[in-house]
């Protein structure tokens, strides 16, 4: 059994290797003018050290490749860590210029201190697609940011709301309420599941598992951005860059070839479209989703719990992508996922712009929340 801790949000970890210690300077003796001038020929006191540190460390620490500075009262010296011997000379000169005797300084070569890499489960401001969100007792993925007539928003799954199929006031946190107690957005639109044409007996249907959440004023968001992890289908959650949504497919419900997704649990993964415009029953409910797309990658886990809401896209060139939909579920073995095409999302939530350069779409024509006007049948065909 594995111990997963989605709420472990370490922002900083010092990879501090203090062991690579090396004195680089030639100690100055009592004859050195600086030594005598500042310390009066005696061993430096703690008071001297603190005074020298306060006086000289701002300049020394401003130099490139300086890692840390401290007072070592036991050894009676100021200690500075630098990334390499070249940087040591600059620190040494800066301290001498400030009148700190060389005998009262120890310079060590050390590893630089890095921030722990940002992951899909850490805080992101501005927010981007593919990162963790949290509400009530659930965790999902933020799909994508949009300009919408209702305001600056993000799209996630309808089942990632407190009451699925009812527009409520779900508060969303990123990455979690424990890590960042201020909510980032409030649920704004989650249309009802109804008895649509083509809906099976005993089922309640929609064309997309999507809901919109309106950002709070103080939360910054990056439209067009999707977090990119360090590799495709390798399970990495470390963010190393970003995909940019340069286009969005507002018309197709049929796709082929490879599509990608980024989600807080399995990261960046991809698979091949195997079924389009499929009617899919949602496990554990009476919900049926019409005209969905199924994606598979045998032998690789491409979806797990927590990936709900992942943006689904096709790569065009480099990190530029075309947004095609939102992931909502998959099979128990994780090798297959299903997503709602963007066309269905727009038909139900109203016009929206997700591209990086796109401006706000025209006001909702009133069709948002209604069933899509086109109801493709079978396994083929785009809505026209």
């Amino acid at each position: 059994m594995t111990a997963n801790r989605p709420f472990s949000f370490l922002l900083v970890a010092a990879a501090l290797a203090m062991s690579a210690c090396q004195d680089l300077e030639q100690p100055m003796g009592p004859d050195d003018p600086a030594f005598n001038a500042q310390a009066g020929g005696r061993a430096a006191s703690a008071q001297d050290l603190r005074a020298w540190f306060a006086m000289a460390s701002p300049e020394a620490m401003a130099l490139p490749q300086t890692v840390y500075g401290a007072v070592d009262e036991q050894a009676g010296v100021l200690v500075f860590g630098v990334e390499n011997a070249n940087a040591a000379r600059g620190v040494q000169n800066a301290l001498l210029r400030r009148g700190v005797p060389a005998t009262a300084v120890r310079i060590e070569v050390t590893e630089p201190i890095h921030y722990m890499s940002t992951t899909l489960r850490t805080a992101h401001r501005p927010t981007v697609g593919g990162i963790q969100i949290h509400f009530t007792q659930y965790v999902c993925t933020l799909g994508f940011n949009v300009s919408h007539a209702g305001g600056r928003s993000f799209i996630t799954n309808s089942h990632c709301t407190a009451n699925q199929g009812t527009t409520g006031s779900t508060l969303y946190y990123q990455p979690s309420s424990s890590a960042e107690p201020a909510h980032i957005a409030v649920e704004a639109h989650d249309p009802a599941y109804t008895r649509l044409s083509g809906c099976s007996v005993g089922k309640q249907c929609r064309y997309s598992d999507a809901a919109r959440a309106l950002y709070t004023e103080g939360t910054s968001s990056s439209q067009g951005g999707i977090a990119k992890t360090t590799g495709e289908n390798n399970g990495s959650l470390s963010v190393s860059g970003a995909f940019t949504i340069t286009a969005q497919n507002n018309t197709a419900t049929s796709y082929s070839g490879t599509v990608h997704k980024v989600g807080r649990t399995t990261g960046w993964s991809s698979g091949n479209v195997t079924n389009t415009c499929a009617t899919v029953n949602v496990s554990g409910s009476n919900i049926q989703l019409l005209c969905q797309t199924i994606v598979q990658r045998s032998g690789t886990v491409i979806v797990q719990g927590g990936d709900s809401g992942s943006p689904v896209f096709q790569r065009t060139s480099g990190d530029n992508v075309t947004l095609v939909g939102i992931l909502w579920g998959g099979g128990s073995n994780g090798e297959l996922f299903v997503f709602s095409p963007l066309k269905n999302i727009i038909d139900e939530l109203g016009p929206m712009t997700a591209t990086s350069t796109g401006s706000a779409p025209p006001p909702d024509d009133g069709n948002g929340g209604d069933p899509p006007p086109c109801r493709p049948r079978g396994n083929s065909g785009n809505c026209k």
Partner: protein, 122 residues
């Protein structure tokens, strides 16, 4: 899931024997054996759990979640000290013979799996 997995005991409860071709009830039980709360991270709005039944040759006879499309939401389910979570499923049964069954709880990583139990249909 937080805490040491040692404090969570997952077991599948099933009758040792049952008539062939009749419904067999399974209970997948997750028991927190520790004196502190155990937080489970489970897949699904409704908790997604699987029951797998194998025949004497090791072939799959029944799998509760076979072909199911499960929402990929993650549910945080705190399990109070010494409390248990029980999930019930029914299998329509099969031919007379010996079977092995085990249960799985879907998470955001590898599923949590119960030890197998032996079931005889006669």
């Amino acid at each position: 899931m937080t805490h040491s997995a040692d404090s969570l005991r997952l077991e599948l409860l099933a009758p040792a024997a049952a008539p062939a071709h009749t419904t067999v009830a399974f209970t997948l039980r997750a028991h927190n054996t520790a004196a502190r709360t155990f937080e489970l991270y489970l897949r699904g709005r409704e908790i997604a759990f699987d029951i797998i039944v194998l025949d004497a040759q090791g072939s799959h006879v029944w799998r509760r979640l076979k072909g199911e499309m499960i929402p990929a939401i993650l549910r945080l389910e705190p399990l109070a000290p010494y409390a248990a979570l029980e999930l019930v499923a029914e299998w329509s049964g099969g031919e007379a013979g010996d079977y092995t069954a085990y249960g799985e709880l879907l998470t955001d990583g590898e599923p949590l799996r119960s030890p197998p139990v032996i079931l005889r249909l006669r």
